[in-house]
């Protein structure tokens, strides 16, 4: 019978800074990714000919390759190929950001096309320009439908920051790795790490649920 020894995880300083790093990467890459998604999603639904194809290829590549490879690639390969010297913290977040961008572009596009044809027709016959339709009729309705998938994607994004540990970003998972090495207690350490993700994400999901109930 295994004896749990929880004393090994008692390192508040380490965890606190790790949680800070995880949350910071999750928030910043989610917001940056969402902005990319909004712009690309808008470009997609307005059916700009050549640009549309380029965006679709981008989305396809980022949705259909492992995020781990993307992170590693942007961290190591991009600076090597281009000769750019990117700050480590920036290069580490690039893959995550573009990954979020690809998914949110798709969420955005799906939200817009889910609005009934009648709403477009009604605004057309009222003489609204394309941007007036988008801004006042389509987007206010589409945004409400986009909230649940965006929240799920943001939750995934926070958990996906765990992959950043492979490029030595000191997030929760990286801290857990280090602690395991020094204590040989992976079970306690990783269970505690999982608990931290749970603690961070619980209020987020509760807030999202409340928002949904209100609208």
């Amino acid at each position: 019978m295994y004896e749990f020894d929880w004393s090994v995880v008692m390192d508040p300083q380490l965890w606190l800074s790790a949680v800070g790093v995880t949350v910071a990467y999750a928030v910043v890459t989610s917001i940056a990714g969402l902005l990319i998604g909004v712009v690309l999603g808008l470009a997609l639904v307005s059916r700009i000919p050549v640009l549309g194809w380029i965006i679709r290829i981008y989305i396809h590549v980022f949705r259909c390759t492992p995020l781990l490879v993307q992170i590693v690639w942007f961290f190591y390969a991009l600076p090597m190929i281009t000769g750019w010297t990117l700050p480590d913290w920036f290069a580490a977040g690039l893959g995550l950001t573009l990954y979020m961008g690809a998914f949110s572009a798709e969420i955005f596009r799906a939200g817009v096309i889910s609005i009934e044809k009648g709403q477009w027709e009604a605004s057309t016959v009222l003489g609204f320009s394309y941007w007036t339709k988008m801004r006042h009729i389509i987007l206010p309705q589409a945004t409400r439908r986009m909230i649940p998938p965006i929240v799920s994607q943001a939750i995934l994004q926070l958990k996906n920051t765990s992959l950043l540990s492979v490029v030595a970003v000191p997030d929760i998972m990286y801290a857990a790795g280090g602690l395991t090495m020094s204590t040989y207690r992976p079970l306690e350490v990783y269970t505690f790490a999982a608990l931290l993700y749970l603690v961070v994400l619980t209020p987020v999901t509760l807030l999202a649920n409340r928002f949904e109930l209100k609208h």
Partner: protein, 247 residues
């Protein structure tokens, strides 16, 4: 007011309108009848360019357009042409995130034609006219279908169109709600509004129409005053259609 000449519309290889001629004078109420699939809704949707005609000529309130199958009317010109008409849909298509009042204000306000105060004043007057001055702050989901359709009529009127187009305005309504919508339409007709109405309501056609147009298979088979067209149909097709819809 409206002059349609040899209008054709195809979807792919299917020709839905096969050369329609239609004249509607100012103040006329033209009612389009015919079996489903005869092209009457498509004709109505061609009049405000929700569908681009494949061929023919359209003239509405002095604005003219000609089509030859390759015609692409620029967005601005489309909007300009469309501004002569207001449209009421079968499914109302109210904006669900706006109140009744905001729906009616949306046309003048979002097009920048009126200030907020002016748009509100106009909207309140129009809602009063359709008998809904008590419902201004409700959302579309909180009112009945008949009320929603009256809001949609007020919303279209807010842009002061020359012609009102109605695409089966009572077909999605519960039977007991049809009357209130027809009453509003009848009052518009009395005030001299030019209207083109696609409907299956033969009573409305008989009492309110100044002109009845019977379509079948993409052609106009008969048209004229209701007493003539409905009272003494010349074609066997119309006789059989009328016997079906009038039980």
């Amino acid at each position: 007011m409206i002059d349609v000449r040899n209008l054709r519309k195809s979807f792919g290889t299917l020709e839905v309108l096969k050369g329609i001629d239609l004249e509607v004078a100012a103040g006329d109420v033209a009612v389009l009848i015919g079996p489903s699939g005869c092209g009457k809704s498509t004709l109505l949707r061609c009049l405000n360019l929700l569908e681009t005609p494949s061929a023919g000529r359209l003239e509405i309130a002095g604005r003219k357009l000609e089509f030859d199958g390759t015609t692409r009317v620029p967005e601005r010109q489309q909007a300009e042409f469309r501004s002569a008409t207001g449209m009421v849909f079968q499914n109302f298509n109210l904006f669900p995130h706006m109140t009744v009042l905001e729906n009616v204000m949306s046309g003048p306000l979002l097009n920048g034609l009126k200030s907020k105060a002016e748009a509100k004043k106009l909207a309140l007057a129009l809602l009063d006219r359709v008998g809904l001055s008590q419902k201004t702050d409700l959302y579309p989901r909180q009112i009945s279908g008949g009320q929603a359709q009256r809001v949609a009529i007020a919303r279209a009127l807010a842009l002061e169109p020359k012609v009102m187009l109605f695409d089966e305005p009572t077909s999605a309504l519960d039977p007991e709600l049809v009357g209130e919508v027809l009453e509003v339409m009848q009052s518009l007709a009395r005030d001299g509004t030019t209207m083109i109405v696609v409907t299956h309501e033969m009573g409305f056609a008989r009492e309110v129409a100044s002109k009845v147009v019977f379509m079948e298979g993409g052609h106009v088979l008969e048209s004229g005053p209701p007493a003539e067209v409905l009272g003494a149909p010349r074609t066997e097709r119309l006789r059989s259609f009328l016997s079906k819809v009038e039980h």
